[in-house]
Amino acid sequence: MADMTTEHELDTIDVNVNIGPQHPATHGVFRMVLVIDGEEVVDLVPHIGYMHRGAEKLSENMDYRQAIGYQDRTEYLAQFNAEMCYVQAVEKLAGLVPPDRAQYIRVILAELNRISSHFMFLGAFGTDLGVFGTAFTYAFRERENVLDLFEEVTGDRLMYAYFRPGGVAWDVPRDFKERVEWVCENALVGAMDLDKLLTDNEIFIMRTRGIGILNAQDAIDYGATGPVLRASGVQHDLRRAEPYSIYDRFDFEIPIGTNGDSYDRYLVRLAEIRESVKIVRQALAQMPEGPILPERMPRLLRPAAGEVYMRCENPRGEYGIYLVSTGGTQPYRLRIRSSCFCNLSALKHMTVGHYVADAVTILGSIDIVLCEVDR
């Protein structure tokens, strides 16, 4: 009689919980079906493709300047980095070299965009863990400052379409330097606020340390890049490994994590905000006067036939543009290598074995942008 209960275990069935396309934890339209046994996740089936708008097919029917708008709409949290990658791909094919002032403007705006994107992550990550409004309003106060600056420079808060192959569309306003300095100052204050609020808060540590561990070998195998890869301890940053544009003129450290869990991913991104402020300040000091577009720009750009795989360091990882041109005015094939697409493919590997609450934390710690995943 004694072993009656132990011999046949209580046969429970696994429940399919649908963290559906419309859910506060999915930062956009992404659905994951969690097969859970009690509270622990046994299996996870991600469903993407809700935001697929065919940016690649549309770009093949647009000329080179019109296709810039689609880069903002795929990567809507780091638009300048995406535009910079596309514009440099076209420049590599067309043999255009942008003047120095334009390069500096691009680097400053791209780094500021990285800061605003990381603040978006901090706000959303805090909300995923339960600090309902506080982390969000701290992060968004800084993000608003950066977006106001972008509005003064380009005229738009989200869809800039400001970079052009060969430089930038028009020059920056006169008070650009003071404004950027003010925004950097505030970004550091915001980062310090969030650091004080979250970093060594015991409950935050308990909820994120050791959750969703991705060791270095798996990260490389899944093609994870950016903060997710650096949190696993791989010291690889495209701005340092394969410097594009003028990134080799600035010195900045690359923060890396130790054991690749959600806590390290949070720390890496928080440290990257400070590194980006350092880059912006150096770029601001060295920014020369001068033209922002080469003198004789062809009215309708026809890059030479050929192909290039241009890659830039976006806040979420390596954003690549594989551009094939056959000499016409329209790109023959424009393939966008999305950083979140690869980071997300490692979600199941990280989440199985954890609790339902951890599945939300891990999804938040990867910091996905669904438009970029689905293009």
Binding site: M62, R65, Q66, A67, I68, G69, T134, Y138, R141, E144, E151, E152, V153, T154, G155, D156, M159, A161, A169, W170, D171, V172, P173, R174, D193, K196, L197, L198, T199, D200, N201, E202, I203, F204, I205
Partner: protein
């Protein structure tokens, strides 16, 4: 437990700072002059006719093809008042399709089209989507009332 106390002081610390809320309908945020709300046509006040000559440059360059332009001879050119041989006859912009990418302003070689940098451009809301298709007079109305602030790159 120090981390717990530290984050408590963090929230109490920010309580003493000034709240950042702008109460929208009563107070409006200052909009920079480079604001890109929606394209509008500019009015030439000294010859009292639109700058636009209906040359289809913007219509061809528009990625989402939201413009329709027709051209006609300029009666004033015959009367000798203006140098423009052609003037715009019909000009429709479908604001529902326009993605505000500013390519039409760059392509136009008569500087006839500009981006609306006023709050009314943002606060335009209509009941029926077809009302978003603006005809020539609606596009020129704002410029006639001198609400559009001109800006020069680098200013």
């Amino acid at each position: 437990m120090i981390g717990v106390l530290r984050s408590l002081t963090a929230t109490m610390g920010t309580m003493l700072r000034k709240p950042v809320t702008i109460q929208y309908p009563t107070q409006h945020r200052k909009v920079p002059e480079r604001e890109r709300a929606f394209p509008i046509l500019l009015w030439d006040f000294d010859i009292d006719e639109p700058f636009c000559t209906g040359c289809h440059a913007c219509e061809r360059a528009c990625p989402v093809e939201c413009m329709t332009v027709t051209m006609k001879d300029n009666p004033k050119q015959a009367a000798g008042e203006s140098k423009r041989r052609k003037i715009v006859d019909e000009f429709f912009i479908d604001y529902a399709r326009c993605m505000r990418c500013n390519i039409c302003v760059e392509v136009c070689n008569f500087d006839a089209i500009a981006m609306n940098n006023t709050w009314t451009g943002h606060e335009l809301s209509v009941v029926d989507r077809e009302d978003l298709v603006m005809d020539r007079d609606q596009l020129m109305a704002l410029s006639k009332e001198k609400q559009i602030r001109p800006w020069v790159p680098g200013a």
